[in-house]
């Protein structure tokens, strides 16, 4: 099917609401993290998988805890731009 329209794709095919809730943004010292909630395969514990780090500090991108794909313990995130 070819659809000729001036409307953007997301108006023609709206995204499911749960797609939006999959990702969340958490504040961390010095910036924020976009994470996805996942379960650990072995222990079944709740973890956050890092999707993206948002910070202007180039050093934070070298922190292996914040690299995309790494799993974080919810306890580990202490929050806040303090």
């Amino acid at each position: 099917m070819i659809l000729y329209t001036y409307q953007p794709q997301n108006l023609v095919f709206p995204t499911n609401d749960d797609e939006y809730s999959k990702q969340q943004t958490l504040p961390i010292p010095g910036g924020s993290l976009v994470v996805e909630a996942t379960n650990d395969v072995q222990s079944g514990a709740n973890k956050y998988r890092v999707v993206r780090l948002m910070s202007t500090d180039p050093n934070m991108y070298l922190n292996s805890n914040y690299q995309p794909g790494s799993l974080l313990d919810p306890k580990f995130i202490t929050g806040g731009m303090e």
Binding site: L11, T15, V41, T56, Q67, S70, L71, F76
Partner: protein
């Protein structure tokens, strides 16, 4: 996807190579995610880097599969960069397709009004509303292969076909044009010419300006990459330091 964490007591930094076995897994992880085994460490930086990637998201939230720059995330970072005394300069790296006009202009105005030295670098693309952001800094660079598409403001989605809509868009376009001409060396006439020219984009009006041409038209200061951008930013920082030092002595 399988995960590599199987220890009973979770450590605060699960990815750090602490013992032999875990270190190996950490390396595997790094190869999986970054394609490299280790990333360089460095000292605390006096230059902060802001990346404007994907679409510039405005009042409408885009589905999560889109890569977006959200202005509610960027604006606090810019405020922090202005306030933090340790930050002496800001490098803005752009690779954007454009997006919301109001959000883009908001970011451009924020960057242009920072008191600290700013340098922008356009890599890949700095299209439509990326253009005002690219020219907003004290000095701008564009990669030789990078492009900037200049085209008129338009609406997607529901269009109300009344003359007022056209006037509203026209005024919005004037805001973009006046910002770009105020912050770069391009004349209003030339910018409008590029914006409304025919035959450059297939079935659309506008111009796709590539690296050298952007410099030739006066929009961007210089063709260059990350090396020249950081060098220029350091120069600007030194210049500002010497000026403010002079003020104190008087």
């Amino acid at each position: 996807m399988n995960t590599f964490y199987h220890n009973e007591e979770p450590t605060p930094a699960p990815n750090q190579p602490q013992d032999g076995g875990k270190g190996k897994e950490g390396i595997l992880d790094k190869i999986q995610q970054l394609g490299a085994t280790n990333v360089p460490k460095m000292e605390e930086s006096n230059i902060h880097v802001l990346t404007i990637i994907g679409q510039i998201e405005g009042h409408m939230q885009l589905p999560p599969q889109n890569k977006t720059t959200k202005y509610e995330h960027v604006i606090p970072q810019l405020v922090a960069a202005e306030q933090n005394k340790k930050i002496e300069g800001l490098l803005v790296i752009l690779n954007t397709v454009g997006g919301d006009v109001e959000a883009g202009l908001a970011l451009a105005e924020m960057i242009s009004s920072l008191s600290k030295p700013t340098v922008t670098l356009v890599l890949g693309g700095g299209h439509s509303i990326g253009v005002p952001i690219a020219v907003s800094a004290d000095y701008s660079f564009i990669a030789e292969t990078a492009t900037m598409t200049i085209h008129p403001v338009r609406l997607t989605g529901l269009v109300i076909g009344v003359p007022q809509t056209f006037e509203y868009l026209d005024k919005m376009q004037d805001r973009v044009i006046s910002f770009v001409t105020r912050n770069s060396n391009i004349s209003e006439e030339k910018f409008k010419d590029l914006m409304l020219s025919k035959g450059n984009l297939t079935r659309d009006i506008g111009t796709n300006v590539i690296g050298d041409d952007a410099v030739k038209y006066g929009m961007i200061n210089e063709v260059g990459g990350i090396g020249s951008a950081i060098k220029k930013l350091n120069e600007l920082i030194e210049k500002q330091k010497s000026q403010s030092g002079g003020d104190v002595v008087q």
